[in-house]
Each structure stands twice: as structure tokens, then as C-alpha cells.
Symmetry: C2
Subunit: 409 residues, 2 copies
Amino acid sequence: MALIVQKYGGTSVGSPERILAVAKRVERWRAAGHQLVVVVSAMSGETNRLLALAKEISTSPDPRELDVVASTGEQVTIGLLAMALIEHGFKARSYTGAQVKILTDDAFTKARIVSIDEQNIRADLAGGTVVIVAGFQGVDEDGNITTLGRGGSDTSAVAVAAALKADECQIYTDVDGVYTTDPRIVPEARRLKTVTFEEMLEMASLGSKVLQIRSVEFAGKYKVRLRVLSSFEEDGEGTLITFEEDEKMEKAVISGIAFNRDEAKITVMGVPDRPGVAYAILGPIGEANIDVDMIIQNASANGMTDLSFTVNRNEYTKAMDVLNRQVKDQIKATDIRGDAKICKVSIVGVGMRTHAGIASKTFRTLAEEGINIQMISTSEIKISVVIDEKYMELAVRALHRAFGLDQAA
Amino acid sequence: MALIVQKYGGTSVGSPERILAVAKRVERWRAAGHQLVVVVSAMSGETNRLLALAKEISTSPDPRELDVVASTGEQVTIGLLAMALIEHGFKARSYTGAQVKILTDDAFTKARIVSIDEQNIRADLAGGTVVIVAGFQGVDEDGNITTLGRGGSDTSAVAVAAALKADECQIYTDVDGVYTTDPRIVPEARRLKTVTFEEMLEMASLGSKVLQIRSVEFAGKYKVRLRVLSSFEEDGEGTLITFEEDEKMEKAVISGIAFNRDEAKITVMGVPDRPGVAYAILGPIGEANIDVDMIIQNASANGMTDLSFTVNRNEYTKAMDVLNRQVKDQIKATDIRGDAKICKVSIVGVGMRTHAGIASKTFRTLAEEGINIQMISTSEIKISVVIDEKYMELAVRALHRAFGLDQAA
């Protein structure tokens, strides 16, 4: 008998029929003798409906009140799922974040979990009750309702699993696991049986949308055994996210190819290569609340250098504006050039640490396809390149094949 | 400066535009220097939507979980109204029933309020904050969410007003007050400036839907000054519900004519006139959870009598079934006759206590219109008659005129 925390996302509970299907799945686990805690999201579309109502009332809704409104989506789902289980003869009980209580800080709309009181849940589980917990929400010290921000239900599930020292935290979603890359781009993409936390973090931060990145960090920190599964399949085993490289059964050097076309590239050209120049450029960008991803500065020639960085494509115009108004003349840059039509492709794998030649293989593969590399950045377990976005699919497919990730391989 | 509790029903907050209109009204009262507590219902249609979702999951939803789901309707409204006020520069803060806390018993879906902790509300009011409270809901001793049943928001408002010893509890609705009868039936119907609690109770229980009957009882018990007003009018004074007959400015004998076509009549004929026979008939009806309204038994002839009673029309078939299966043979009744096409018309007024001749005037008026009276029942301040439902409008209009209630009068 194991203690399992399961999390079902919005699509998995998107209609009464889907909620009944989730109930059936929970009942199978319960009937097998396991203790079950189920964390659920709002029915798909519901959170957007609630936020749209708020937007009709206020252009910038008060964050505390927005959380009061937004948190109702999950509250509806927990009640519906609990009544489905009870209807089928199982013991079940729903809990809002406040009822648990999932204590958070008071950063409304993006609160962070401080602690979880697991006493009531433990008592229910001991009595054979399936515990249903509203994801995405908590309560601050003063009893105000808080939400964890978009995708926060994953974090709720992992935090509950950590508090209960659950044997496994299963994240049910509309995909059946973590893939070597997006199967919509590369039909040969393979589901990974295991992936390490570090790889998962790199892939999540690089645009792979399977899990919210904070939930992966949380799981890594508290050593929660995490598994991603499909709620639309009967008996998939999904992808297990492991702590140690050694736990990996597949010893592939590279686990996956991630990509992201949400960025834009900016290059500040001909700036004097002296201390403080990077800050002079990126300080005003940070003050304008623009997040910067990659930053590259080459060795200088003639005391002059170029500094390139990428920003979210939505903030590209704003960033160019900041540079042209506040930075360009001050640091005497010769030019500021931007390109929004780029993409970032990343090769991720813990095996990279101990294998030489991954970088050169990457560059050779892209060269053979005639793809020019505009920027390069590396970490211990990933290599990212910025290329023209029109080559994205071509690059992802070529790299997927080159690193032996194709299903046939 | 007064402490005012205002309550807005579902139609009054039925859309973002309506919520903004409510905010404007609240702001006018606040700007005039009053302390404001606002109790709101779910947006119209929302509670039905939530109950329909539950019905798709379960034919008889678990009551605790049903309350978890149903209570979200009001929670959305409080957040939206608070953000509207904040957007307009007012201080406002929303409270769910649990946050207040409105302590109830644990009779889910029809809970009763036990106590209200008014400390947080008082602190907010003292600081100039408009307090927005979710109607219809509370929390039991164990922290479970409860609801008060349909129309419970009126009761919430009155209970909050009682706890705060508010100067006035204003119930905003889609009518501008309490009328002498339904203006859709009698165009000459007049709005009453005042009506006593007893009259209001009789009218509410007789089918006049302006206020939930429990809220009127509550207001009477705790001496809450209650006023019914329209949320669609700018400056109506509505109808004030008074405690004492003396407070009434209008000294009319009769305050209004109520009517109800939701009942059906059943007569058990030819039963032996001996002790226990009424119980033998109505006991099984009560055990089948069928509510009985009027009960009439005539003096007997030849040791035999007839017993008639009315039930809700929805339960008519069930009641007939109970009588035919469990009662008829046992008590040796000669026949059981039923009629679902009846209506009840009632004349209500505290002045009736001290005025003779109201009954005879009622009967004469109906006789002049050729309307046969099937059943009669009286209380200190009302006379009810059961007649064929096809005469309902005719009877109401004739009585309205006869008792001088027409606007022209």
C-alpha cells in the first residue's frame, strides 16, 4: 500500500464526463489499496472566464480580490470530484487551500507556499477517505485567499506530496509523458521512461510545457518522486522524473531537444570594452521589468565589443525603445540591432557532462543543413543556439536524428 | 452617520455592468458618510449553472460537497464588487462566509446561522472600508463550508445587520417594495410605505416572493429595521418593515392580497369521526416528507366526517399515492378525491384584529363574482380561501378593489 498524490489539470477535468473518468481512475487506485490525495485544477476555460469577468470590472483588478474570484474555479472541481467518488460508494472529502491549510505568503496572484498542515489529510487517509485538494490556491497568515499563479496546481500537488512524504506524485496531463522533443514537430519523438530533475528543469525553462517549472524545483528540493502521465490513457507508465543520473535506466547522452520561438535578439554594437558597460546596457532593461534570457559578449577587438541578449518577443519593442532612448548615446554605441525572427534550440542531457564532442556534433549537424548559428550559450547539461526561426523545425529534426533520439533508433 | 447593511440579489449583480451599477450606489452611500456592509448573492443564473453541473455528476449530490460547489457563486460576486469599488478609489474588502466567520450548524444545503463574529468587519468599518460579505453561506464548527438554502442571502444580510446592530438593513431587489398585491395581476396595486413583520410573514408564506421568510423571522426576532428597495431605481424609498402596528403610517385594515397557485387539494371522504383519525391520515403523509398547508375538518354527521388538506402541487401525485396505498383501506374511507386546479387567495392585515366584518366582506365579494369557496382557513391577521384556479385573477382584483387597496382609492 502506497500513499499516492495525483494531480489532474484543467483538460483532464474539463467536463462532467471527464471528471467522472478521473473519478474512475482514482477509484481503481483506491480499490488497489492505496491511500489517495487528489489535487485538481479548475475545469479548462474556467479560470479564463473568471479573469475575463474581472477585466470587465477593472482594468487592473485588485490582486487580493482577483484571487478571491480566481480561486473559485478549483473549488468547483474539488466538490464535483468528491461527489462523483461518493456517488460511487467511496469515502471522499474536498478541501480548499484554506481548509487544508496551505499557508502561503501574501503575494496575491503569485503567492509561494510556506507550509502545509497535513493533519486533517492524514486523519482522513487513515480512515480510508480519498482526499481532494484544490490546486493553485492557499491562504495567508491573515486568512486571505491567495493563488500561486498560472500552473500553480502542479506546485500544490508536489508541495502536498512533500508534506505527506508521499511515495509518488503523479501529474496527469493531456500528454503521456516527457518526450525527446515535441512530437508535432518530429513525429519520431520518443517518450522518455525517465528524465532527471536537472534535465526536466532545463527543458521546462526552455519552453517544454509539460510541468510548471516551480513544481519541478520544489520536487527536486524535497525529493518528491514525480511522474508525468496521461489522463486520457488507461495504463500508461508516463515519465518518471529521477533525482540521480544513476537512477536512469536509459543511458542516453542526450535526453531531448527543446525549442522556443518566443524570444527576440538584440545586439548593442561597438561599445567600449570597459568595466560597467554590461550593467550600463542591462541595468535599464531590468528596471523596465524586462526579463533577459541569454547574454553573450565576445572578446573585444580594438577596445570595442558587441553585446547581444535575448528577451521575450512580447517585450522586444519595449526593450529596443529603452536602449535607443536611455542607453545608446550614453555608452556611445555605434548601433543597436534587433531581430524578432529568431528561435532558440537546445540540446539537453545530463550525459553531456561526461561526454565530449556534443557541442561539435551539434554545430556540424546544423552546418550540414546550411543553418547559420547566431548565438551560442552552454550550461553543464545543455547547449542552446539561436538561429533564424524559419529553420527551427529543420534544426530540431536534424538534431533529434543526429543524437539518436528517433523512435527507430 | 449610520451603519447600513445592504443586500443585492442575483438580478441586481447579474452582469459586470450591473455590478458596476451596484458599486456606484454603494459609493453614493459611502460618500454620504455612512458605514457600509454589502451582502451579495451569486450572479443570476450562476447557482443554477453550478447545481446543474453537480446533477451531471451525481443524481443525489453529497450535501457537503454540493455546498462547496454552490458557495463559489457568491464568492465570485464579492471579489468582483470589491474590485469595482477599489478601482473607483474606495477602500473595500471581501469576505466569504468562512472568513467572516458566519458560524452555522452542519445541516448542509439548509444550514442555520448560529453566530456571527463581527470583529473583523467592525475593524474594517472603523477604518473606512466598505465590507463585502458573501450571502447564502457560512462555515460549521469543523470548518466545512455550508449554505443556507435558496434565498439565504436575505437571511445573511439580516443576521449581519443584527450582529452589528446596524441602523438599517436594505434589501435591494428587482421590485421597488412590497405591494398590496402582484401588479402583474392587478395594475392598480399600490406600493406599501410600511408593512408590519406579521403581515410580511403572512404574505411571504403565502407566495409573495419579495423576501425569504426566514430573513423576515430573523429580522423580527432581532429587531432589525428592514427595508425593501429596487436596485434599478435611483431614489426609491421602498417599503419599510415595521415592528409595531403603531409605527404604521397608513392605517388601512387590510395591507394586501396574496395568492398562490402552487397547491393541490385532497379530501378523504367518509371517515369515522373518532380520535386518531386525523393522525392516521396525515401521519403517513408526514413520513413521506410531504408538507401540508391548510387542514380542514368539518363537524361530523352520522359519526362520519370528511378531512381536507392542501399540499404542494409537485407532491400531489405522491400524496394521492400514499393515501390510496397506505391509508384508505386502513381507515375505511369511502373515497379519496383530489384537485390540483385550485388556488389560494388570502387577505392579510394586522387591522383585521380589531375590525369585524372582514370575513363576511370577503365572502360577499367572492359571491358577487359567482366564485365558489372550497376551503376557508383563518388566522389572527389573515383569511385564506381555496377556489378554482381559473377564478384567481378575478378574485384577487375584486378583493383588491373591495378592500380599498386600488391606487385610486
